[in-house]
Amino acid sequence: MSEDNQGILWEVFLQPKPGRPFKHVGSLHAYDKKMAMTAARDLYTRRGEGKGIWLVRAEDIVSSELEDGEAFYDPSNDKIYRHPTFYNLPDGVKHI
């Protein structure tokens, strides 16, 4: 017999409305996919917070390493030409 436990940890992502991106809202425990899905519905949409659910087993999430932080993210700091506000436009020009 399997040892008593509280099930697998799942991460829950909700889509607030069709067309919107999914956002992480929390976690839950469940033993299988179906149970995880109904539990997510029952736990995270009680106040109409979402119309779409994604579930990922927590252990399957690939996360960036903290030690890489500077090498990963700092190099984009000086690439300000990627932002529209970098560019000079004549006064009064529209639709650009």
Binding site: S2, D4, N5, G7, Y31, D32
Partner: protein
């Protein structure tokens, strides 16, 4: 040496109000302190379902029953969010539950008091949740990311709880003389336990200083307690109810209410397990857990079958 440097960097982040995330380096004491506080908080939500559940089957109107049921359900949800937050620190839910069942983990002592009348549903919502909210609003600013996010969600959901309780007290206070007496009696019994929910005075609080320095807690016990008292007195007085503290009076010079001596013997007695409901609450939780064992085992076995099916397919 390495640790000293890390510790200094850690404190710099805390001081700059940068949240600590699960994969970040953190001092072991910070982790332990958080595990203790978050799981204690989670247990309080879960054990806190019981005193209210005690009146769910006797709620006197359909409306009251719906609201109370949804409220107790929210508490289960809040416990769940918090267990998950604790889990990000490396403790599994079953470990945390075991500690509770073995009597090694604490929960808020206030839930060891019995709910003996319907008015207690009002008093719990108004006073106990009212006190909890003061604490939780403050904890939204806690330094640990997952704890802070759980608090934000909890505060959003809790906003109806205190109103629900206060509404019950209002209805009773404006009802028949017997109902008003019921409300006064509940206030008499729940006031001091609610005031004690903030824990010992700052000078006697074992974990306070370090917790404040690491911003696990953002404000001291006494600061939070004072805020709760200041905002609550008026709510009781407009209903014509009397607080069971003869020393309670507005202090013009401090801009706060002065209040009487807290009975710390009573407080420690209940914390140490001698409250009227300590054994009963724990027994209820352990029984439910044991009665559910076969269901959890079956769910595990079924999941194993599903997995082996997909593997052979």
């Amino acid at each position: 040496m390495e640790d000293q440097k890390k510790l200094a960097e850690f404190q710099e982040k805390i001081d700059a109000d940068i949240k600590i995330e699960p994969r970040d380096w953190m001092p072991e004491k910070y982790r332990q302190n958080l595990i203790r506080q978050i799981s204690q908080h989670a247990h309080s939500e879960i054990i806190g379902m019981q005193p209210e559940k005690n009146w769910l089957t006797r709620a006197p109107s359909i409306r009251a029953k719906k609201i109370l049921m949804a409220k107790i359900q929210d508490e289960a949800g809040h416990g769940l969010y918090l267990y998950c937050a604790a889990e990000t620190l490396g403790v599994k839910r079953e470990q945390v539950l075991n500690l509770l069942h073995e009597g090694k983990a604490k929960y808020s002592s206030v839930f060891n008091y019995p709910t003996i009348s319907w008015a207690d549903m009002g008093a719990i919502g108004w006073l106990v949740d009212g006190a909890a909210i003061v604490n939780q609003v403050s904890l939204q600013g806690t330094s640990y990311g997952p704890y802070s996010r759980a608090m934000v969600k909890i505060c959003m959901e809790e906003s109806f709880h205190q109103r629900q309780g206060y509404e019950i007290v209002v209805t009773l206070a404006k009802g028949t003389p017997e109902q008003k007496q019921m409300a006064q009696d509940a206030l008499n019994r729940w006031w001091w336990p609610s005031v004690m929910m903030f824990g010992p005075h700052d000078a006697e609080s074992a974990h306070s200083n370090q917790s404040l320095k690491w911003k696990i807690k953002r404000e001291s016990n006494d600061e939070l307690r004072q805020r709760f008292i200041d905002k609550t007195i008026h709510q009781g007085e407009i209903l014509g109810l009397t607080f069971p503290d003869p020393d309670l009076k507005w202090n013009e010079s401090t801009g706060h209410y002065d209040y009487g001596e807290i009975d710390w013997d009573e407080f420690w007695n209940v914390v140490k397990g001698n409250g009227p409901g300590n054994k009963q609450r724990l027994k209820h939780h352990i029984e439910a857990h044991e009665n559910g064992k076969w269901v959890r085992e079956a769910a595990i076995a079924y999941a194993d079958k599903l997995n082996s099916k997909t593997k052979t397919a």
